[in-house]
Each structure stands twice: as structure tokens, then as C-alpha cells.
Point group: C2
Chain length 352, copies 2
């Protein structure tokens, strides 16, 4: 009979079984429970024992098995991010923020892409998180995300990155958002201060009854004594921005356009160019997000920098707080910051 040393197999087929807590215990001459105490930084271990065990752990390269740990105490130290099927900047930046914070806390991060059509896999993902004891972060900027958010049962540890809520959110709701209203108000005010008689708005689809971004724009206009024009409805992409741009370019009264995000703004820019309007001579354009590319649009886009990475970090902090049983009040994250570039300027004096 032949026996192969699994630990030293060269062929690579036999996966060497890594050291377990009992191996460490045997070599260090202690019980497995003491090893467990050492790896969990339990207080009641004598320094001498701790050191001896630690040495064996290092020598063996022992690493506790996450599955076993999860099975035993239902604590997976993991977060699953639910996010809709998109390659948009804000989403990925948020994910990056979550991952960054999670890594610092040595949590692992899972990702599930949710598709608008079928919610069954969303439910599956949620259930999966539940029965592995994991936490959930839902990126719910859009309708698909909101639907997923609604599927999450009350009791499971969750946080959500959302659009600014229309009214004060339910106390204890684990929501994080960027202050859309202030951002929109500031951007609108900036455009008015340039001398524009009014500011037109191309809106993102809103998940709330009343978008705070739209509200901010409106309130800035009202405060200046201006009756807000009807906002145009776009979706998230440049194409719908282009369509809105074509429409607006035909109205000579339009001299300033605020767009729901930089992609829409890009579409508006392209439409204005196609319609031979000068930017910012004839029309000023501003966006939201400050994507990395926006500085290189033609002309460079004035926009509002939104800190999605901080938003992601905050989501993670919220969900871990809940995991620890702490109470977290919903709160906005970060301070939107207007970035002025070449796409906005004072309106040309009317010729008449």
C-alpha cells in the first residue's frame, strides 16, 4: 500500500490540508480551546501560553477557517452588496468605498448584480445573506435597487445608499445619502448669479415621490423670485440627455441647463453642438457627480463633486453598527462641492 504525503505533493493535485486548531493545540501542548482563545484575543490566557501558541501558529502558517467559524457562531464577517446592472461611475465608486471600509475591518465583500426583470435571485441573495449571517448593503439609487431594498426583511443587518429622502426618513432606517438638495440649490444659485434669467433642469428618474435634487433647484429659483420652468425627464444615460438637449436647444429662452448627472450633461452638450449653439456663450451646462472624464468634455464640464466613496464607507459603518446592535440614525454623507469649469458662464447680452 502506498501513502502519499499530502502536505508535500508536488503534482499539485492533492490539495494539502492546512493546519487546524487541533494541530496547533497538539504541537503547542495545549487544548484546542486555548488556541481558540489565542486567535480570538481572549483575555484569560497567560502571556506565556499565548506566546507559545502564537509561535506555533506562525510556524504552521495557521489561518482559522472562515466556514467553520461561520458555521459555529453564525458570524460570517461578510457584506453582500446588491447593485443594479450598470457600469455607471457613482455605483462603482460607492462599491469601492464599501470595499475599502470592509477590508479595513477584515470583512469580505460579496457582490450581486440585480436585474430589473427578475427579483427571484435578489430574494435568493438576501436569503443567502440571512442564513450565512452576513450583512447586506443595497445600492438603491434607482428603481431596481429600491425594489430590492423593499425585499429585505426588517430584522436583517442592512444599510442602503439611497437618493435623498423626500421627507424625514423613518427613525432608525439604515439609510445613507448625499445631500442632493443642497447640491442642486448651490449649483442653481451659482448659475443664477452668473446672470441667467432662469435655469432649466434635466432630471434623473427619482425613486422618491419628490426628488430632492429637483426640489433644490426649484427652491433656489423661487428664492430668486423666479417661477421654475417644467423640468425635463431623462433617464440615466447620455442618450436621453441628448434628446433633452435637442429639445431645449430649440428654445431661444434657454440659457442655462442643469443636468441630473454628468452623463446627461454630456448628452446635452452633444445636442447643443449638433444644434450649433455655443457653450457657454449661448447656453451654460452643468452636471452632477464629477466623473473623472468630465474635466475633458468639450467644453470642460462644470459639475458638483459628490463623494460616493465616502457614501460607501458610511454604508459599511452603518451596517456594522447594526450588526453590533447599535442604533444608527439616518444621515446624509459628505459635502457636495461645486467644481466650476468652462461649460458655464455669463449669458451673452441679448442682441435685441
Amino acid at each position: 500500500m502506498q501513502r502519499v504525503d499530502a502536505g508535500l505533493s508536488v503534482s499539485g493535485t492533492a490539495r494539502s490540508r492546512s493546519a487546524s486548531i487541533r494541530d496547533v493545540a497538539r504541537i503547542a501542548g495545549v487544548s484546542h480551546q486555548t488556541v481558540s482563545r489565542v486567535i480570538n484575543r481572549h483575555a484569560k490566557v497567560s502571556p506565556a501560553t499565548r506566546e507559545r501558541v502564537q509561535k506555533v501558529i506562525d510556524e504552521l502558517g495557521f489561518r482559522p477557517n472562515a466556514s467553520a467559524r461561520a458555521l459555529a457562531n453564525g458570524d460570517t464577517q461578510s457584506v453582500t452588496v446588491l447593485m443594479s446592472d450598470t457600469t455607471r461611475y457613482g455605483y462603482l465608486a460607492t462599491l469601492t468605498g464599501i470595499e475599502e471600509a470592509a477590508r479595513a475591518a477584515s470583512f469580505s465583500v460579496g457582490i450581486v448584480v440585480i436585474e430589473s426583470g427578475s427579483s427571484s435571485h435578489v430574494r435568493a441573495a438576501i436569503e443567502n445573506a440571512i442564513d450565512t449571517g452576513g450583512a447586506l448593503v443595497v445600492v438603491a439609487f434607482d428603481k431596481t435597487g429600491q425594489l430590492a431594498l423593499r425585499e429585505v426583511p426588517e430584522r436583517i443587518p442592512m444599510a442602503a445608499a439611497v437618493e435623498s429622502p423626500a421627507s424625514a426618513p423613518p427613525a432608525g432606517a439604515p439609510w445613507c445619502w448625499i445631500d442632493d438638495e443642497a447640491a442642486a440649490r448651490d449649483a442653481t444659485r451659482y448659475l443664477l448669479e452668473l446672470g441667467h434669467p432662469t435655469v432649466h433642469y434635466v432630471a434623473l428618474p427619482s425613486t422618491t415621490r419628490s426628488s430632492r435634487r429637483t426640489a433644490g433647484w426649484r427652491s433656489a429659483l423661487r428664492r430668486a423670485g423666479i417661477d421654475p420652468p417644467t423640468p425635463l425627464q431623462a433617464d440615466w444615460g447620455a442618450l436621453s440627455g441628448h434628446e433633452a438637449g435637442v429639445f431645449l436647444s430649440r428654445d431661444p429662452g434657454v440659457s442655462a441647463i442643469l443636468c441630473g448627472n454628468d452623463e446627461i450633461a454630456l448628452g446635452v452638450l452633444s445636442a447643443l453642438h449638433a444644434e450649433r449653439r455655443k457653450i457657454p456663450g449661448d447656453v451654460s451646462v452643468a452636471g452632477f457627480d464629477d466623473e473623472p472624464q468630465s474635466a475633458f468634455y468639450t467644453p470642460a464640464l462644470t459639475t458638483t463633486k459628490l463623494d460616493f466613496v465616502a457614501l460607501g464607507r458610511s454604508c459599511f459603518a452603518t451596517v456594522t453598527a447594526r450588526l453590533g446592535g447599535e442604533h444608527v440614525e439616518p444621515h446624509p454623507v459628505g459635502t457636495p462641492e461645486l467644481v466650476v469649469r468652462a461649460s458655464t458662464g455669463s449669458p451673452r447680452r441679448a442682441r435685441s
Copy 2:
């Protein structure tokens, strides 16, 4: 003494323990092993038993515990994606492809962002994947990814999305890539056919000794009997494209610029505008990737569509094949497709 029914607690604090395989077994009047056989679609279960057990499973909403399963047979049904810290389109599209394929195979997807500075957490992530029995996909388009790739030991199930290799890759290397050389050759040939005397190239950083994209561009020129000019070196962002664009715009002999990706192309466009060169009248510009925004640049960008989603799917297929012990030959994925838009055209007849 008070006892709370954990299963029906309304408060939400007590997490109801979900049904286990033994609960199902007891209710169905079979052994736990039979239940195991049912959930694993094992052949040797009589139809009657199978149906009875399945009914109980459905009624109880039983879902097998992933941790327990992983612990028992070392099979986590999970993939961890290692990806550098970026919000670039190609990366996220690749991730989307991986996730899509993984979801279809009911694998879970983890993500670890790798930072160029510290490789310790990369090692930690790899070890983690090893001792939970998970697989790895490394997105190694850039240097950071390549470094991570090198950290992965031979024996663990892995696939990598890479730049086209300079020479035939080692047999059995689990690499997937897009055919950069063909893509660059076709794009260059297209520009030459428009009548440009030569094509200048703004290169992405390459992870290989000899970038296939650069090689494709070069070979197209040589085939046309043209001595290739020195390519310009950029990084991945629009800023470096802008710098390259400024440089090239000062050379009146430059009439066509091929760029390593759409972001660089965007930078080049912005530089050309700043230098008052007409596009495509004075200079034609083309990119790579076909990002969603590229159609809305000024002018709309001619580019080559690269199917990153298919690349991601292929990475997943590769890694699962390896997980199953199959042999996979390294291979390119998808067919790059030139998308002609307004940023390229025939050169203006020389005035002289």
C-alpha cells in the same frame, strides 16, 4: 421563567434559526442523508421519496447552509475577483460578466480591491480563497493586477483577464484576453484607407514586454509600407491623453491619432479643441473600448468595441473548468468590432 418562540418573534431581535437538513428529515420521515441526496439531485432516490422530501423542503423554505457545506466538503461555490482600485469602464464590465456567469452557476462572487502599494492584503485575500476552497479571478489589465497575479500559487483554481500576451502563453495558463492585435490592426488599416499618410499612436501602459495593441498598429503600417512613428506613452486616464494631444497637435504632419482607450481619446480630443484643430478635418481620432459615453463626445468617437462582459464570462468558465479538473487552453475572447463615428474622416487635401 419565560421562553420566547424564536421562530415567530415579532420584535426581530431573535433571529429564527432556519430549518436544517435534520428537521426536514424528521418531518419527511426519512434520514438526513436522504435529504442530502435530494438536495444534491443524487440519482439513487426513489421518485416517491424525492417528492415527499421536496415537499417538506418547500414548505419549510429550507435552504442548505453554505458554510456547513463548505466546511464538510471544501467546496465553497465561490469566486473572488481581484481588481485594482479603479472606476474604469472595462474593469466594471468585466466584473459584470463574471458575476453574470457566476450567478447562472449559483456561485457567489467576492470582490477585493488591490492597491498598488501594499501586497499584504492581496496575499491575505488569496490565502483566504485557498483555505475556503474558493476560486480566484484576477483582472490583470494593469501592473497592479499583474503583481497580484504573480502572487497566486500554481495549485489554486484561478483565471485571469489579461492584456494579449506577447508570445504564446504557457500551455494551460488560465488566461483570457481580447485580441488586441487584430483590433489595433483593423483600426489602423481603417484610418489608412481613409487616406491618412500615417497613423500616430498614444499607447496604454503595457504589462507585457511588447504590447499587442502597439504591435497591431505597427504591423498595419508596415504592411502599407509606412515606417511607424514613435508611439506616445500615456497612462490610462484622460489627462495623459490630453498631454499627448497637446504634443501631437503641434505637429502639422499628424492627421490621424489612434488612442489606447476611449479615455485617452477623450483627452486627445480636448487637447485638439484647445489647440483649435478641427476634428476630423485636421485630425482624425479613434479610441478603444466603446464606452457608453463615447458616442456623445465631441465629435462622436470612432472606436473599437471590446466585449469585456464576454471576457468576464469566459474567465468564470475557465476557473470553473479548472475547479472541475479540466484542462483549459489559453484563448482570446470575442471579436473586436470597429465602430465608426464622426471623429474620423479623410484628411483634408494638403493646401500647398
